[in-house]
């Protein structure tokens, strides 16, 4: 009996501390949906159907049905969530080290391209050979592309926000050139890479539930383990929380900075790889890079915590998967999803509003990742040679 009660107490404490971290994100989502109700109602007044008070609720019902209403809907949600898990981890890992990697978009493209080209090269080889090689190529390409801003930051202090934004553009344009002039597959009316054939990720269930989803979930737990349980994770977190103390403790913030950006790029590259090998099947200029920016939202909503990122990615995946049905059934445009996502981030950043509305009295947990994002100028890891 005693042990039983102790166990309950332990769980209550654990739930309490989880809730103190998760409450603001959850409330932000609720608030975002509430504000979006107003947006939908107001905008309905300008459509043929006229003002419709119930429209947002019908829209939300369709959204829910589209995301979770059937087995296929759930598969669609998972498929949309997988790259966001990788991308969210990429951004979240950077934030843990005090780095704001806006470059996920570029690293995603580079990873996608490398996976597409490698996959096409092994299109005829058995899946057990081609698929892992293509995934590996995507991961390494992303890692290399993440290493560049990491190295620049570590060696020269060049701010990663600036360099990664530049590198995003460089990636998109370079790859457009590469697809046009280097690896353009013959026989298509537009520039794209060749078929990946046998290198595609195996479908596990349904029409589209591919193996990459499993990879993403495994990555969540691997990154969580690294951050929480290993010396490397401790170094990353310490560099992020207090680079001065990290140096004093004998860590090498310069090395950790470069390594973290490389790992972040690796995860972003994997996002690109599974998207190509599991969903799209080829690389073409203009394939969606929205994953890059949604990843930032996912990481912030998940508060850089791998488990938080898992849920945030599932939520955003559900948005993406459910939105088409919502548009078909209720004529509410898909773009309302972007508005809701933006509002979520807005309320996360302006958490004072959330606290006021919901009277949150939970102790103010320092939102370090927000501090990294908003205060990223001049903050973070000191450049090489800068003494305290």
């Amino acid at each position: 009996m005693k042990a039983h009660q102790a166990l309950i107490e332990l769980w209550r404490a654990r739930l309490g501390s989880t809730w103190s971290v998760a409450s603001i994100p959850v409330y932000s989502i609720v608030l975002a949906f509430a504000v979006a109700v107003v947006v939908v109602i107001v905008s309905s007044a300008f459509t043929a159907t006229g003002l419709d008070i119930l429209l947002p609720f019908r829209a939300y019902a369709s959204l829910l049905a589209g995301a979770f209403g059937s087995q296929n809907a759930i598969y669609n949600t998972l498929v949309a969530a997988a790259p966001l898990m990788f991308g969210g981890l990429a951004v979240g890992l950077g934030l843990k080290a005090g780095l704001f990697n806006i470059g996920v978009a570029g690293q995603f493209l580079v990873g996608a391209f490398a996976a597409a080209v490698t996959g096409a090269a092994f299109a005829q080889a058995p899946t057990i050979v081609g698929m892992p090689l293509a995934v590996l190529a995507g991961a390494l390409a992303g890692a290399a592309y993440g290493f560049i801003p990491g190295y620049l930051k570590a060696r020269t202090g060049a701010h990663e926000v600036v360099t990664t934004i530049m590198l995003n553009n460089a990636a998109a344009l370079l790859l457009t050139w590469a697809v046009n002039d280097l690896v353009r597959a013959p026989g298509f009316s537009f520039p794209r890479t060749a078929e990946i054939g046998q290198s595609a990720l195996p479908i596990l269930a349904g029409r589209n539930l591919h193996l990459g989803i499993l990879f993403a979930v495994v990555a969540i737990f691997v990154i969580r383990w690294i951050l929480d349980r290993t010396t490397l994770g401790f170094e990353i977190r310490t560099v992020g929380a207090n680079p001065n103390a990290a140096r004093y403790a004998g860590m090498r913030p310069i090395f950790i900075t470069a390594l973290t950006m490389t790992l972040s790029g690796l995860l972003a590259g994997l996002a690109g790889a599974i998207q190509i090998l599991g969903v799209i099947g080829f690389y073409a200029p203009g394939i969606t890079a929205s994953v890059g920016f949604d990843s930032i939202a996912v990481a912030l909503l998940g508060r850089s915590d791998p488990i938080g990122i898992l849920f945030a990615a599932l939520l955003f995946g559900a948005f993406r998967a459910g939105a088409p049905l919502m548009q078909i059934e209720t004529s509410v445009p898909i773009e309302i999803i972007d508005i809701i996502q933006a509002l979520v981030i807005l309320f996360l950043a302006a958490d004072l509003i959330v606290r006021k509305v919901f009277r949150v009295r939970a102790p103010k947990v320092e939102i370090t990742e927000m501090a990294t994002v908003t205060g990223s100028w001049g903050a973070g890891t000191p450049p090489a040679g800068t003494a305290p």
């Binding site: 349980r229 929380a241 207090n242 004093y248 090498r252 320092e366 370090t368």
Partner: protein
């Protein structure tokens, strides 16, 4: 007659009265509520209950502008001056003298400042830029600023914390002159001897309550310390006899640049023997911090060598030096010594996180919770770190307990050399006593201790040998018995043994 009484959590129904032409010292440990009380006075904190009366009249003070209007001036511990402006510009800031249409009349301002300074008995160049002044001079500018704004009640928060003994004496002269002129002064401090020297009355605060008011003639340091802490404390550590052994730490011809690439160490030579405490006295900013950073490996010297037990460690990294037996208590515990959001166990092993048994498995890659926690528990107990649990963040601890975490972690048993920078900065009497005892214990165990402190008394009390650092060089060396306060202080201030 002015009378204040407030009641907040930090200030639990405090009654304090300040007479005209009085220097009233407010004495208390860190966190006792001195600063809160003064912030109430200056309009930075609103009291929940109670009232403030000036000349018998109840007043409410909403903000600092209100306070200034009512004749209250404040000199903060950290000066609120604009470094790139001149003395005159700083003093008149916000109350500029203008000719017409907003054209500044700096000449008139400078004239008035010179007159004011003459009256108070000190010289200051109104045209000098503040960033070129010493801390002592900057403080006088702060006082001028307050008086210029018509302050009749002057509040000084820990005014001597950054001053040399000479500067302290000078500022006391200024304060006495102000008192003669009719200014009432509240002098906040945790230094007992200064309160006794300067004050007409001393009020002691403990945990937000007034525990006693004394006249200096009726009390002494031990009595005041007991009031402050609530128990008897010994103010002077009993250093005992030292038994120096072989040279452990050796610094030769060390040169280094500071962050602005100026040469800040210009050939430092020193050695520390096993079982000996060598103290470095010096006004802050003469290269002490950089010297310590070089020894510990945080800063690369441009020339010179550092040896530990005969071995050249000049080129080794921080972690390699730690492995060889150097430990370091940094001056700024919050910036360097701790990761404030981390729980206590992670802070207790911060500098040893990669060592067995705290990391093991997969080639020392996996952190081991159980040894980390048990070590944290052991250290917390041994060093009397008071926290509600090990799982609280270091940021929730008081300054004294934070410092104990750092000290507990660094004072390990297999040490060769211990570098301590400002071991008791901002700590209360009780914590200081504890940490001093620990330092002596380490020395007696044969550790070579290098102590840097801005508190001259601390250096003199603890050190077996006192070195004086001035502009990047060691300019003097005294055995403990010949290190007199005045002699050392003079050398600190001028770099020369004779004025």
């Amino acid at each position: 007659m002015k009378r204040f009484s407030t009641g907040t959590l930090a200030n639990d129904s405090i009654d304090l009265d300040l007479a005209a032409r009085e220097i009233h010292a407010l004495l208390g440990e860190n966190g006792a509520g001195k600063t809160t009380l003064m912030n109430v006075l200056y309009g930075l904190v609103t009291p929940d209950a109670g009232e403030i009366r000036i000349d018998g009249e109840p007043v409410t003070i909403h903000d600092p502008a209100d306070a200034i209007r009512r004749g209250i001036g404040m000199v903060h511990q950290h000066f609120m001056l604009v470094p790139v402006l001149t003395v005159a510009e700083n003093v008149v800031l916000g109350q500029e003298i203008t000719r017409s249409r907003g054209v500044l009349d700096m000449r008139a301002a400078e004239r008035r400042i010179r007159e004011l300074a003459d009256r108070l008995g000190f010289t200051v160049d109104p045209g000098a830029r503040v960033d070129q002044l010493s801390l002592g001079q900057q403080q006088r500018v702060e006082i001028l600023k307050a008086i210029y704004r018509g302050a009749r009640i002057l509040v000084l928060d820990e005014p001597t914390a950054v001053l040399t003994p000479q500067e302290t004496r000078e500022i006391f002269g200024v304060l006495r002159r102000l008192r003669e002129e009719g200014t009432s002064i509240i002098f906040i401090s945790h230094k007992l001897d200064e309160a006794l020297e300067i004050a007409d009355r001393i009020t002691v605060i403990r945990r937000g309550k007034v525990v006693g008011t004394r006249k200096p003639s009726e009390t002494n340091e031990n009595d005041l310390a007991e009031l402050m802490v609530g128990r008897a404390v010994s103010l002077r550590v009993d250093r005992g006899q030292s038994h120096p052994g072989d040279v452990v730490l050796e610094v030769a011809e060390l040169r280094a640049l500071d962050d602005r690439r100026h040469e800040v160490l210009r050939g430092v030579d020193l050695d520390v023997r096993a079982g000996e405490i060598v103290g470095i006295a010096g006004v802050g900013g003469n290269g002490q911090d950089e010297l310590v950073e070089c020894i510990i490996g945080l800063r690369k010297p441009i020339a010179g060598t550092i040896r530990l037990a005969g071995r050249d460690i000049t080129r080794l990294g921080v972690d390699a030096r730690r492995d060889l037996g150097i430990a370091y208590v940094p001056a700024d515990r919050q910036r360097f010594g701790l990761v404030l959001p981390y729980r206590l166990p992670d802070n207790f092993v911060l500098t040893r996180y990669a060592e067995v048994p705290y990391a093991a498995g997969l080639g020392g890659f996996v952190r081991q919770d159980r040894p980390i926690r048990s070590e944290a528990g052991r250290l917390a107990k041994e060093f009397d770190v008071r926290a509600s649990s090990l799982d609280v963040a270091a940021s929730t601890l008081s300054g004294g307990n934070q410092q104990k975490v750092v000290v507990a972690r660094e004072f390990r048993h297999d040490l060769k050399a211990l570098i301590i920078d400002q071991p008791t900065r901002g700590l209360d009497v009780g914590s200081i006593e504890f940490i001093h005892t620990q330092i002596i214990e380490r020395r007696n165990a044969g550790v070579a201790v290098l102590l840097v402190s801005a508190e001259l008394d601390e250096v003199l009390d603890l050190s077996d040998r006192v070195l004086v650092m001035y502009r990047g060089r060691i300019v003097g060396s005294f055995a403990a018995n010949e290190a007199q306060r005045e002699k050392v202080g003079l050398l600190m201030a001028t770099g020369e043994a004779r004025p």
